[in-house]
Structures are given as structure tokens and as C-alpha cells.
């Protein structure tokens, strides 16, 4: 098995606040890892470290063979990693001045210097795949939240990433739109995409995850197959958290 992400003894601080504590985590190619935890537990920060949106203070991080040093100004490794790691944000972060299709074509055109017809064909194919081919020439603000998030997924996929990071992809959505986004993610997982997903959707985690990680106050306190973590949590923190979120 190929290791896509390897974290060893990673620590991260915001000022004096210790947000990630001695994180050890490995993600294999093709694996879907779902990270759960209370808000402020550090789960978003954890995946934002993977593509260098956050720096960390100590420890080791290797993404697809590229090592990112702590406090990294290592622009070469960072550039390589970002080309191979896609990210989907809670707030979509689509580019409002570009049409849906241009949103998807931007990175292949600029980063890979793909010729216009090829980038265009890729965009059409991806829009089809996420089920919104008819919206290609609209601007993001004319789409529903669910549609916008599916565009954001297509935009990340256009770079043919080896790993996809999802940072609470359904948390900003109206309830009736959550399903359509999770469906796309489920498909992606089925096709063998390596994924790290931060979410509060426990049903999705149980169904799609190969492994569930529970983070409490910056520390991984429980890790295992979804059935084990959800039905038979060992750590009392995990038990308390799950009883709160699964109660309703």
C-alpha cells in the first residue's frame, strides 16, 4: 500500500493555544478517513495542515512523498502538494466573477497549462458527473448551495488530485441539499478516491468511511473502523461525544 499522508508527532499552536497535539496519522491510497469531533477540537486545522493552509510548529508531515517541514517556507514541496491535493471548503469559496465552467477550468489552464479545448472538455465531463451540466454558463451566485458545493467538488477534481480534503462540506447547506453533496462524495469514494473528510454527518461517516478518527482538544483519542468507533467506543470522551450527537 502507498501512503499518501503521513503525520508524525505533529504539533500546532495558535499563539499560546495548543491546537494539535502529537498527531500521528497515516492515510493509505484509496482510503476514506472521516474525522469527527466537537467544534474547536482541531479537526479542520488538522486537514488544513495537509495542503499547507496552516503551518505547524513541530513534527513531521509527508504528503505523497513530499515532506513539509515545520514552519515551512518550503515552496517547492508546497507547490507539488497543492497540485496533487484537492480541497472542498465549508463556504464553497467559488470564484464569483467567473462562470461555473470557468471556475473549473481556471486551475488546469493556469497550473497545468492545459489547452483551452482540453480544459473545456474536462469541465464538461466533471459537470456532468456532479449532475449540473445545464448550469455551466451561470455565475455561482445563481446556483443553490448544494449546486455550488458540487461545482466546488468538480473544480477540485479538475486537477486530478490524488487526495481530496473535505472541510465540513455540508455544514453551510440547507438540510434538503445535504444529500446531493453527500451522494457525489459517496460516488467519489466508491471510485477509489483517497479522502480525508471532516464532517458532522455521522450517517455518512458510518457508511462511507474506512476509518473514523475522533479528535478531542487537539489529540486523536480514538481511531478505528466505523462500526467499532460508533457502536463500541473505548474512550470515555468518544462515548460522551457520540451520545450527544447521536441522541437526536
Amino acid at each position: 500500500m502507498t501512503q499518501i499522508v503521513q503525520m508524525r508527532g505533529m504539533n500546532k499552536y495558535f499563539g499560546t493555544l495548543h491546537v494539535l497535539k502529537e498527531i500521528d496519522l497515516t492515510v493509505e491510497a484509496g482510503e476514506v478517513v472521516v474525522i469527527i469531533g466537537a467544534s474547536g477540537s482541531g479537526k479542520s486545522t488538522l486537514i488544513r495542515c495537509v495542503n499547507g493552509l496552516e503551518e505547524f510548529e513541530s513534527g513531521k508531515l509527508v504528503v505523497d512523498g513530499n515532506e513539509l517541514a515545520p514552519k515551512s517556507g518550503n515552496q517547492k514541496a508546497l507547490a507539488k502538494i497543492r497540485k496533487e491535493v484537492g480541497m472542498v471548503f465549508q463556504q464553497f469559496n467559488l470564484f464569483p466573477h467567473l462562470t461555473v465552467k470557468k471556475n473549473i477550468m481556471l486551475a488546469p489552464r493556469k497550473v497545468k497549462e492545459a489547452p483551452e479545448p482540453i480544459a473545456s472538455a474536462t469541465a464538461d465531463r466533471l459537470l456532468n458527473r456532479v449532475g449540473i451540466a445545464s448550469q455551466a454558463d451561470k455565475y455561482p451566485s445563481h446556483l443553490s448551495g448544494g449546486q455550488q458545493q458540487r461545482v466546488a467538488i468538480a473544480r477540485a477534481l479538475a486537477m486530478e488530485p490524488k487526495l481530496m480534503l473535505f472541510d465540513e462540506p455540508t455544514s453551510a447547506l440547507d438540510p434538503e441539499m445535504i444529500g446531493e453533496v453527500l451522494d457525489v462524495m459517496r460516488e467519489l469514494a466508491k471510485e477509489g478516491m483517497t479522502m480525508m473528510v471532516v464532517t458532522h454527518e455521522m450517517g455518512f461517516a458510518r457508511e462511507v468511511a474506512d476509518r473514523v478518527i475522533y479528535i478531542h482538544e487537539g489529540r486523536i483519542v480514538e481511531e478505528g473502523k466505523p462500526a467499532d468507533v460508533f457502536d463500541n467506543p473505548q474512550n470515555e470522551r468518544t462515548q460522551a461525544f457520540l451520545s450527544r450527537v447521536l441522541a437526536h
Binding site: 495542503n51 491535493v85 466573477h97
Partner: protein, 223 residues
């Protein structure tokens, strides 16, 4: 004793051809100065939000100096003061354009800074996470959005600068006000002539406002 004042329409109309000769100068100084000011504004505006202090400080100093001193003093300094330094005269037209450029540049720097800082941080993160470099992210994602937001304040600055050129009559540029003063010296019809001068400024600034409103309506797609 009884004052009788009658607006002399004939005098007003007669002054128009002479006053019109000032308009090319007014426009040249305004828009020449603003064009350079825009470049200065982008340059210093972006420097003023740079992380490195040694780039940020000079930009901040430039902005504060030219916003914090009167443009009249600036143009007098350039026209009368600077020749001492460079050892030769500066022609009034050049001095006028330079004054508008430096002055509007300082204000436009602030417009640029505000426009760029108003764009959500998530836009930069999305660009970087897609593999774009910092400069690609800035020029293809941040700048186009920021520029749209900058159009109204830029239009505002253009109108201010056009009116500021009226002060340059003091250094003898043949712009609108200067033409009016020369004309009045011969005809003594101050009321009528300044009335026409005011109307001419209004015609310029109103046309600009209309153009800007049109651009704003057309340009704002979805931001």
C-alpha cells in the same frame, strides 16, 4: 441708491469660445494625472499591505504625506520649489500633471488597499489549494473582484481630481479657471464668466458620473 444687476446673457455666451480653450488642458491634467495616479495607487496600495515592513513603510509614508498636505501646496512646491533642486524650470503643465498624479495616487492607494482587503480570505485559500501560485491567485482571482469594488471610489477620486485642477490657475496653466480669469480681466463680467466656468466643470463631472454608473451596472455580474 439702488443696485440693479442684470445677468448679461450675451456676455456669458461670448465667453464660451475663449473658455473652451481651457478644457483640453483641464482634461489633459486631470486624466493624464489620474492615469499615472492609478499606476502609483496600484503600486503603493499593494506595497502598503505587504507583509514585509521595509516595503510597507515607504508606501505608508508616501500615502500619509500626499493625503496630509494640501494639493495647492504640493503643486506650488513642485512648480516653484523643485526647480531649485533640479536646477532648471518645470513647465506648468508638467507640474500640474505631476501634482494630480502624486495626490490622486495617495488616495487611490487607499482605494486599492481597501478593495483588496475586502475580498474574503477563502478566495485566496481556494486559489492556493488548487495549486495556483500566490501571484496567480492574486491576479486571476483577487484583483478582478477587488477592482470591481474599486470602481465607485475610483470614480469619486476622478471627480475630486478634475475639480482640483482648478487650483492650478495659480501656476499659470491655461486650464478652465485660468482662461476665465484672463477673460474677466478684459471684460469685467465675473458673474457671467464664472457661472459658465462652473457649468463646464459640471458638464465634465456629470458625464463622468454617467459613464461610471453605466460601467458599474454592466460590470457587476455577481459580486
Amino acid at each position: 441708491m439702488e443696485f440693479q444687476f442684470q445677468f448679461d446673457w450675451q456676455a456669458a455666451i461670448n465667453s464660451i469660445p475663449y473658455l473652451l480653450k481651457g478644457i483640453p488642458y483641464t482634461l489633459l491634467i486631470s486624466f493624464g494625472g489620474l492615469a499615472i495616479g492609478f499606476i502609483l495607487g496600484i503600486f503603493f496600495g499593494l506595497l502598503s499591505i505587504n507583509k514585509r515592513w521595509f516595503l510597507r513603510w515607504p508606501a505608508t509614508a508616501y500615502i500619509e504625506i500626499f493625503r496630509g498636505t494640501p494639493i495647492l501646496v504640493q503643486v506650488l512646491f513642485i512648480f516653484y520649489g523643485l526647480p531649485d533642486l533640479i536646477g532648471g524650470p518645470i513647465d506648468p503643465l508638467t507640474a500640474g500633471i505631476a501634482a494630480i498624479a502624486l495626490n490622486s495616487g495617495a488616495y487611490i492607494s487607499e482605494v486599492v488597499r481597501g478593495g483588496v482587503q475586502s475580498i474574503d480570505k477563502g478566495q485566496t485559500e481556494a486559489g492556493l489549494s488548487l495549486g495556483l501560485s500566490r501571484s496567480q491567485t492574486f491576479w486571476s482571482i483577487i484583483w478582478p473582484q477587488a477592482f470591481r469594488r474599486m470602481i465607485p471610489p475610483l470614480g469619486n477620486q476622478a471627480i475630486v481630481s478634475i475639480k482640483d485642477t482648478s487650483l492650478f490657475s495659480v501656476i499659470g496653466v491655461g486650464e478652465l479657471v485660468r482662461q476665465g480669469q484672463v477673460y474677466i480681466a478684459n471684460t469685467f463680467t465675473a458673474f457671467e464668466v464664472y457661472f459658465v466656468v462652473a457649468l463646464m466643470y459640471l458638464a465634465i463631472t456629470l458625464s463622468l458620473s454617467l459613464v461610471l454608473r453605466y460601467i458599474e451596472r454592466r460590470g457587476l455580474v455577481s459580486v
